[in-house]
C-alpha cells in the first residue's frame, strides 16, 4: 500500500518512489484532483473491457499517488489513443495524454506489464524501422515484429494478397536526412 500524498516522506536520493513521482510530474502537468471519478472515460473506452483496470481507476491510482501501480497496469498499453475519453471528460482531464505519459514512465523505469508484449514490440519495431530508414516500411516492420513476438504465422493469408497488390515494397530506401532523424531519436532518449 503506497502512502497518500499527505503521508509522503520527503524525497531523498535513494527514494525510488519519489523519483518515479518526480519523473511523472515532469511528463504530465495534469491536475488529477480535477477527476471526479465519474467514469465517463471508462464508459466510452473501446478497449476498456480488455483492460485490467478501467481508465477511471488508473486516474484514481494517480489521485492516491500510486504512480507505480498505474505505470505497471496493462490498461495503459491497451489504450489505442482514440481520444474519446479526453474529448468527453467533463473535468477536462487529458486522459489520453496521461496514458502516453504513463507508458513513457513505465519504459524509463522498466515497469511494463508482461501483457504489453505484442503492442510494445509493435511500437518498438515501428520506431526502429523509422530510425533506420527515416520512414516506415511495412516489410521490415512486419519482419522485425514477427521476430520479436514469434507470431510467424499471423496474417499468412493476408500477406501474399497485399504483396500481389503491390502494397509491400521489399527494398526500402533511406531518406537523405536519416542522420538528423537518428539524432532526434537519440536526443529524445526513447529506449528501443
Amino acid at each position: 500500500m503506497e502512502p497518500l500524498a499527505s503521508e509522503r516522506t520527503p524525497a531523498h536520493a535513494g527514494d525510488r518512489k519519489a523519483r518515479l513521482r518526480e519523473d511523472f510530474r515532469q511528463l504530465s502537468s495534469e491536475n488529477y484532483a480535477r477527476c471526479t471519478q465519474c467514469g465517463r472515460c471508462t464508459a466510452g473506452c473501446p478497449l476498456a473491457s480488455d483492460m485490467d483496470f478501467p481508465p477511471a481507476r488508473v486516474l484514481r491510482f494517480l489521485q492516491l499517488d500510486q504512480v507505480e501501480r498505474a505505470a505497471r497496469s496493462l490498461a495503459i498499453w491497451f489504450c489505442v489513443s482514440c481520444q474519446v475519453c479526453t474529448t468527453r471528460c467533463p473535468q477536462e482531464v487529458d486522459i489520453a495524454r496521461t496514458m502516453d505519459s504513463l507508458r513513457e514512465l513505465a519504459r524509463r523505469h522498466s515497469l511494463e506489464h508482461p501483457g504489453s508484449g505484442d503492442i510494445l514490440s509493435f511500437h518498438r519495431s515501428l520506431l526502429r524501422v523509422v530510425r533506420r530508414y527515416g520512414r516506415l516500411h511495412e516489410f521490415p516492420l512486419v519482419r522485425s515484429y514477427k521476430l520479436r513476438t514469434g507470431h510467424f504465422f499471423q496474417d499468412l493469408l493476408v500477406a501474399p494478397r497485399l504483396f500481389f497488390r503491390g502494397k509491400i515494397r521489399l527494398r526500402p530506401r533511406k531518406i537523405a536526412g536519416v542522420e538528423a532523424v537518428r539524432r532526434a531519436f537519440a536526443r529524445s532518449g526513447v529506449p528501443l
Binding site: 471526479t36 471519478q37 465519474c38 467514469g39 465517463r40 472515460c41 471508462t42 464508459a43 466510452g44 473506452c45 476498456a48 473491457s49 483496470f53 478501467p54 477511471a56 481507476r57 474519446v84 468527453r88 471528460c89 467533463p90 473535468q91 477536462e92
Partner: protein, 661 residues
C-alpha cells in the same frame, strides 16, 4: 483639531494570522491626526463594538478608522456603534484589511506593509470627511412581482396578505410556470396541478393583486421606494372581457387539427400539438386563450378566421395591438425562474436527434395524466411502452468542459421520482439510473431515494454515460459502473436525460434593465451569499425562487415568502431613510456649462436661475430624490463646482495621497 481613533480587528486569525497587527498599530500611531489606536480579536462582536464606543467617549474622538473586513460586511455595524455615542456615522471609515489584504496575500511583510497603507489612506480620507445626515424619501406603497411561477405567485399573495398592492407581470399567457408542467412532486408524489391550480385561482381572485399576462418589463428607472417600470403587453388577440373560456376556438382551429405545431407546454414532445389559438393547459389562469400569429393561418396566409366565426361572444380581435404601461412601484420582486439546458449541446447523446432520447421535462409530460399520452409511458418513436428506461443524470450539470460547472440541485430527486413513477406505471419495466453522486439533502429526500432503490427496484449505477445511439429499434447506452469498475453498455427502449438547469431566457437582459447582476449561468447575484440571499445588489429589488439558483418547490416558496416579508417591511412605511451620498452644487463657482446635466444618468440635475448682483444667471441644481450618488456629474465638472457628498474630491485626493508613505 481632529482626533482620529484607529481600531484594528484581528478577526481571530483571519487578519491577525497574516498581518502583523502590532506593527500596524505602531505605524498607525505615527499617522497624521491619529489620537488613539487599539485592537480587538473581533471588533464586530458586542464587546468589540462596546470597546469602540468606550474609546470614542473617553478619548473624545472626532473620527474613526476601522481596519477590519470589507465595508460590505460591517461598515453599517461600526457606523451604528459610533452613532450611538454621538459620533456622526459618516466620520467612520473602514480599511479593508481582510478580503483585500490578509486573505489574498500570504507574505506577512507584504500584507503588513499593505495594511499600513490601507489604514493611512483611510485616516487621511476621514480627516477630510464631514458629518452627513440621512435623507428621507417617500415610498410608493405598491410592489411589482416579475414572473408568475410558483415563487412569483407566492410572493404576490404574501404581499397582498399584508394589505399591500401588487402587480404581477407574467411573460407567458397564463400563471403556473415550470411547476404547471410537472406530473407529481417529490418526495410526497402529490399531483403538481392539484396543489398548484388553487394558488393560481387565488391569485386571480385576490383584489389586491393585479395580474398582467403576455407582459414583459421593458424598462426600469428610479430607485428604492420610487421605481417607474414600463411594461410591454403583447397583443392576445382575444378580448378577455368578452371571452367566456368556452374553448370553441381552440377546438375548431385547423392548425390544431393538422397537428403541425408542437406544444411548448408539452416540452415539444412529438406526440403533442396545439392550435394557433390556445391555452397552455385546460385549467390555465387566466382562462382566456391566446392567439399565436407565428402559427395562425390568418396571420400567415390571410385566410381562415375560423376562430372569430365560431366564437359565440365575438371576443376574437385580429387588430389587437401591443401596448405599454408605466407603473409606479416601491419595490420589485424578481421571480423569473429557470429553464433546462438544451440537449443539443450533447451530440453524443443525440437528444432532439433520436426520438426516444428525451429530457426529464418531456418525461414529466409523458407521466402527467393531462399530458399527450394521458399519463401512459409510451415512447415518442412508435408509441410502444418501454420495457427498460435508462435515466442519465448530470447532463448539463457539473460539467466545466461545457461551461456548466454548477450542480443543478433538483435532478437527483427528480430522477428518483421519474424512476419510481415509471415503475408504478409499468410494473414489469426496468428503471436504470446512471448517477455521479446522489444529492438528496432535504426533508424526506434521502428516504425517497432509498425507497426508489430498495422498494421500487430502480437499479442505480454510479457512473456517467459516454454515448447513446440507436441500434435496431432500441438504444445503446454506453455507461459505466465505477463501483465495480466496469464499463456498462446497456440496451434501452427509452433514454431520459436529466438536463441541467440555467436561468430562464432573458434573465440577463432583465438584470441589465434592473441594474442588477447575474452569474455565468444567468442566475441573479444576491446581495450577500449567506446573509442577504433574498436581495439583489440593487436596494428595493428582491429575489424569489429559481432566478437566484436552481431550487425545488419548497425552497422556491420559502424564498418567495421571505422576499415578500422584506417587501412588506419596506412598504409598511410611507417614508424611508436613504444614504446621504448625493451630489451638491457650489452655486458661486458654477458656470452653468450644463456638462453635469448632460452627464447625469438619472436626469437628476436641472438648470435654475439664481439672483446675482447684475440680475440673474443659470446654475445647476440637484433633485435629491432622483440623485443616486454615482458622481458622474462631479467627474465631468471642470470648475469643481459639483461634488459628491461622501466621495468629495478632497476625500478621494486625500485617500490617494495616503497611499504613499
Amino acid at each position: 483639531m481632529s482626533r482620529v481613533g484607529v481600531f484594528l480587528c484581528l478577526c481571530g486569525k483571519n487578519i491577525g494570522g497574516t498581518v502583523d497587527v502590532t506593527a500596524l498599530g505602531e505605524a498607525a500611531r505615527q499617522m497624521l491626526g491619529v489620537a488613539h489606536v487599539e485592537d480587538a480579536t473581533y471588533l464586530c462582536s458586542h464587546p468589540g463594538q462596546e470597546q469602540i464606543r468606550e474609546a470614542i467617549r473617553t478619548h473624545r474622538l472626532t473620527a474613526a478608522v476601522v481596519a477590519a473586513c470589507s465595508p460590505t460586511m460591517h461598515e453599517a455595524t461600526f457606523r451604528r456603534a459610533a452613532a450611538s455615542v454621538g459620533l456622526n456615522p459618516y466620520l467612520v471609515e473602514m480599511a479593508n484589511v481582510r478580503e483585500q489584504c490578509s486573505w489574498v496575500h500570504r507574505d506577512v511583510h507584504a500584507a503588513t506593509a499593505k495594511a499600513i497603507d490601507l489604514v493611512r489612506m483611510a485616516a487621511a480620507r476621514v480627516l477630510r470627511s464631514e458629518p452627513l445626515y440621512p435623507l428621507t424619501v417617500p415610498v410608493t406603497r405598491r410592489a411589482l412581482v416579475i414572473g408568475g411561477g410558483i415563487a412569483g405567485m407566492q410572493a404576490a399573495l404574501d404581499i397582498a396578505a399584508n394589505d399591500q398592492e401588487v402587480v404581477l407581470v407574467e411573460r407567458g399567457p397564463s400563471l403556473g410556470g415550470r411547476m404547471a408542467q410537472l406530473s407529481e412532486t417529490f418526495p410526497t408524489l402529490d399531483c403538481s396541478q392539484c396543489i398548484l391550480t388553487p394558488k393560481t385561482v387565488e391569485v386571480a381572485q385576490n383584489e389586491k393583486v393585479r395580474l398582467l399576462t403576455c407582459a414583459e418589463v421593458e424598462s426600469v428607472s428610479g430607485y428604492i421606494g420610487n421605481f417607474q417600470v414600463t411594461v410591454r403587453l403583447r397583443p392576445r388577440y382575444v378580448d378577455a372581457e368578452r371571452c367566456t373560456g368556452c374553448g370553441q376556438c381552440e377546438a375548431d382551429c385547423p392548425v390544431g387539427k393538422s397537428g403541425m405545431v408542437r406544444s411548448e407546454f408539452e416540452a415539444g414532445l412529438p406526440q403533442s400539438h396545439r392550435s394557433a389559438i390556445y391555452r397552455l393547459f385546460p385549467q390555465a389562469v387566466p382562462n382566456t386563450p391566446v392567439l399565436d400569429p407565428e402559427t395562425c393561418l390568418y396571420f400567415q396566409k390571410g385566410t381562415c378566421q375560423v376562430c372569430s366565426r365560431v366564437c359565440p361572444t365575438g371576443a376574437i380581435n385580429y387588430d389587437d395591438q401591443p401596448r405599454t404601461e408605466t407603473l409606479a412601484v416601491g419595490a420589485i420582486v424578481v421571480a423569473t425562474g429557470l429553464e433546462p439546458v438544451s440537449p443539443g449541446i450533447y451530440g453524443e447523446f443525440g437528444g432532439g436527434r433520436y426520438p426516444d432520447v428525451i429530457t426529464g421535462l418531456q418525461f414529466e409530460r409523458l407521466l402527467s395524466a393531462s399530458g399527450p399520452t394521458g399519463g401512459e409511458v409510451r415512447r415518442p418513436s412508435d408509441g410502444r411502452v418501454p420495457q427498460r428506461v435508462v435515466f442519465v443524470q448530470c447532463v448539463g450539470s457539473r460539467d466545466p468542459a461545457k461551461r456548466l460547472p454548477h450542480c443543478s440541485k433538483v435532478c437527483c430527486m427528480a430522477t428518483a421520482k421519474h424512476a419510481t413513477l415509471y415503475r408504478h406505471k409499468v410494473p414489469g419495466g426496468e428503471a436504470v439510473v446512471f448517477y455521479t453522486d446522489i444529492r438528496s439533502p432535504g426533508k424526506g429526500y434521502e428516504e425517497f431515494v432509498r425507497r426508489a432503490i430498495e422498494e421500487e427496484g430502480a437499479l442505480y449505477l454510479r457512473g456517467r454515460v459516454s454515448k447513446v445511439y440507436p441500434e435496431g429499434d432500441h438504444l445503446k447506452v454506453l455507461g459505466a459502473d465505477t463501483l465495480s469498475g466496469e464499463p456498462m453498455p446497456l440496451t434501452a427502449d427509452l433514454v431520459v436525460l436529466a438536463m441541467g438547469l440555467v436561468a430562464s431566457p432573458g434573465a440577463r437582459e432583465l438584470a441589465q434593465r434592473l441594474g442588477a447582476s447575474v452569474d455565468e449561468q444567468g442566475f441573479f447575484t444576491e446581495a450577500h451569499p449567506k446573509l442577504r440571499p433574498l436581495e439583489s445588489f440593487v436596494p428595493g429589488i428582491f429575489l424569489a425562487g429559481a432566478c437566484q439558483g436552481p431550487k425545488d418547490i419548497p425552497d422556491a416558496v420559502a424564498q418567495a415568502s421571505g422576499a415578500a416579508a422584506k417587501v412588506s417591511a419596506l412598504l409598511a412605511r410611507s417614508e424611508f431613510a436613504r444614504e446621504p451620498v448625493i451630489a451638491r452644487v457650489e452655486e458661486r463657482t458654477c458656470t452653468g456649462c450644463r456638462a453635469c446635466i448632460e452627464a447625469c444618468p438619472y436626469e437628476a440635475i436641472e438648470e435654475v436661475e439664481v439672483a446675482t448682483a447684475k440680475g440673474s444667471r443659470l446654475v445647476a441644481h440637484v433633485t435629491e430624490g432622483k440623485c443616486q450618488g454615482c458622481g458622474v456629474c462631479a467627474g465631468v465638472c471642470r470648475s469643481h463646482s459639483i461634488d459628491l457628498a461622501g466621495f468629495t474630491d478632497q476625500e478621494v485626493a486625500a485617500q490617494i495621497a495616503g497611499a504613499s508613505p
